[in-house]
């Protein structure tokens, strides 16, 4: 939690002490799309589906 003092807020203006640098956009491309649709995990029960999914996530080395 922060509390601001009742002071005059300074006006910021661009400095001139160093030479300016700037950004120029050189390309704008679509983000690479992920190949393929989601692999839907299907099983008889939620527990079975969860177990299959966990095995896949372990194989992916993300858990």
């Amino acid at each position: 939690m922060r509390k601001a003092k009742k002071l005059v807020i300074p006006v910021r203006t661009p400095g001139v002490a160093v030479a300016a640098s700037k950004v120029r956009q050189v390309a704008l491309d679509a983000a690479p799309a992920r190949a393929g649709a989601a692999e839907i995990v299907e099983a008889g029960t939620a527990q079975e589906a969860a177990s299959i999914l966990v095995d896949k996530l372990i194989a992916e080395k993300v858990i």
């Binding site: 939690m1 922060r2 509390k3 601001a4 003092k5 002071l7 807020i9 910021r12 661009p14 400095g15 001139v16 002490a17 160093v18 030479a19 300016a20 640098s21 700037k22 950004v23 120029r24 956009q25 050189v26 390309a27 704008l28 491309d29 679509a30 983000a31 690479p32 992920r34 649709a37 989601a38 692999e39 839907i40 995990v41 299907e42 029960t45 939620a46 527990q47 589906a49 969860a50 177990s51 999914l53 966990v54 095995d55 896949k56 996530l57 372990i58 992916e60 993300v62 858990i63």
Partner: protein, 328 residues
């Protein structure tokens, strides 16, 4: 190339986003280049030794009570003063709330280039072309820094790999004084509370998020249990936050946090483009939703069509059994 890295320190530890920035700085600087770590705060005695493990060539420390907590005025004034005095080609930081705040402000004060939330870059002949997601992540903008002045760049957390710490080595440390006295700082911090024991969203390796489908505040309990089973963080869609089911700091998306974990599990989230903007760069995305036509399945790697209140507890149990973590 002379590259500086503004290092965030919390509780005596170097933030994950800063460790990644140090690794990126080393690669950008190249072998003849110099990587300088800037660290501002208070009681930083052991930080230079920790920084030496990440390949820095020198460290600049400003250790003062006025810098104990992040505040824009003293931090930006000090950074601007240092850049003016001994300009770097590039100043890097993590694209965290503080990193974007500080480096963006310093860039403005110096009339210099600012590239926020960068996810990749090329450098040739001292010229940097950076890539960053724009328009809710649907487009990638390639932007080149022109001019000879310092460029300020923040790196999206987890977009750049953090190096493993090496052995400590002696590095020159320069101590610098703050440039604003306490009485001249507008903002005073009265209290600061850190949620203990939970991974921060931006740095989390695993994020489990809930949306409209959780149905209410109590619906986040299985989400939290799964996140704890995986040692991850809890996220939420804007709808869940707007409904008051979970605080804003958990919001993922265009108007919340941008995350890029190894694993993102979306539970009861339809996957609006605004939500996707905050998580689509996750390494593996899992969607759990009753609606097989939910847009989230179009960007997910794995999906389960079903009731999250059945699937999520089952998933937590399977994780505990197979991965070995215990829910607290």
């Amino acid at each position: 190339m002379n590259v500086w890295v503004w290092v965030e320190v919390s509780g005596g530890a170097i933030a994950a986003a800063s460790r990644a920035a140090l690794g990126a700085a080393r690669r950008l600087a190249g072998e003849p280049g110099v990587v300088t770590a800037l660290v501002f705060g208070h009681n930083l005695e052991d930080i230079p030794e920790k920084l030496s493990r990440y390949g820095v060539d020198r460290v600049m420390v400003s250790d003062d009570a006025t810098l104990a907590a992040y505040r824009l005025e003293p931090y930006a004034a000090l950074l601007v003063e240092l850049v003016r005095g001994a300009g770097a080609r590039v100043v890097l930081g993590g694209a965290t709330a503080c990193g974007n705040d500080l480096l963006g402000s310093a860039a403005f004060d110096l009339d210099a280039a600012f590239l926020p939330d960068v996810t990749g870059w090329e450098s040739a002949g001292g010229r940097i072309t950076a890539r960053r997601p724009v328009y809710a992540g649907k487009l990638i903008s390639a932007e080149m820094v022109e001019g000879g002045a310092t460029a300020f760049i923040t790196l999206r957390p987890r977009a750049f790999a953090a190096p493993e710490p090496g052995a400590p080595r002696p590095v020159p440390v320069t101590f610098v004084a703050p440039v604003i006295a306490e009485d001249d700082i507008l903002t005073q911090e009265e209290a600061f509370e850190l949620e203990a024991g939970r991974a921060g969203l931006s740095d989390a390796r695993v994020v489990v998020s809930g949306g409209r489908g959780v149905g209410g505040p109590g619906g986040f309990e299985p989400i939290r249990a799964l996140a704890e089973a995986l040692g991850g963080a809890v996220g939420a869609s804007r709808l869940a936050v707007d409904a008051g089911w979970i605080p804003y700091e958990h919001q993922v998306g265009q108007t919340g946090k941008v995350v890029s974990p190894d694993l993102y599990i979306a539970c009861g989230i339809s996957g609006a483009v605004q939500h996707q903007a905050g998580m689509r760069t996750s390494k593996v995305i899992v969607a759990i939703n009753k609606d097989p036509d939910a847009p989230i399945f179009k960007i997910a790697h794995y999906g389960i069509v079903g009731d999250l209140f059945e699937v999520v507890p089952a998933l937590a149990a399977a994780c505990r059994a197979k991965v070995g973590r215990q829910s607290s």
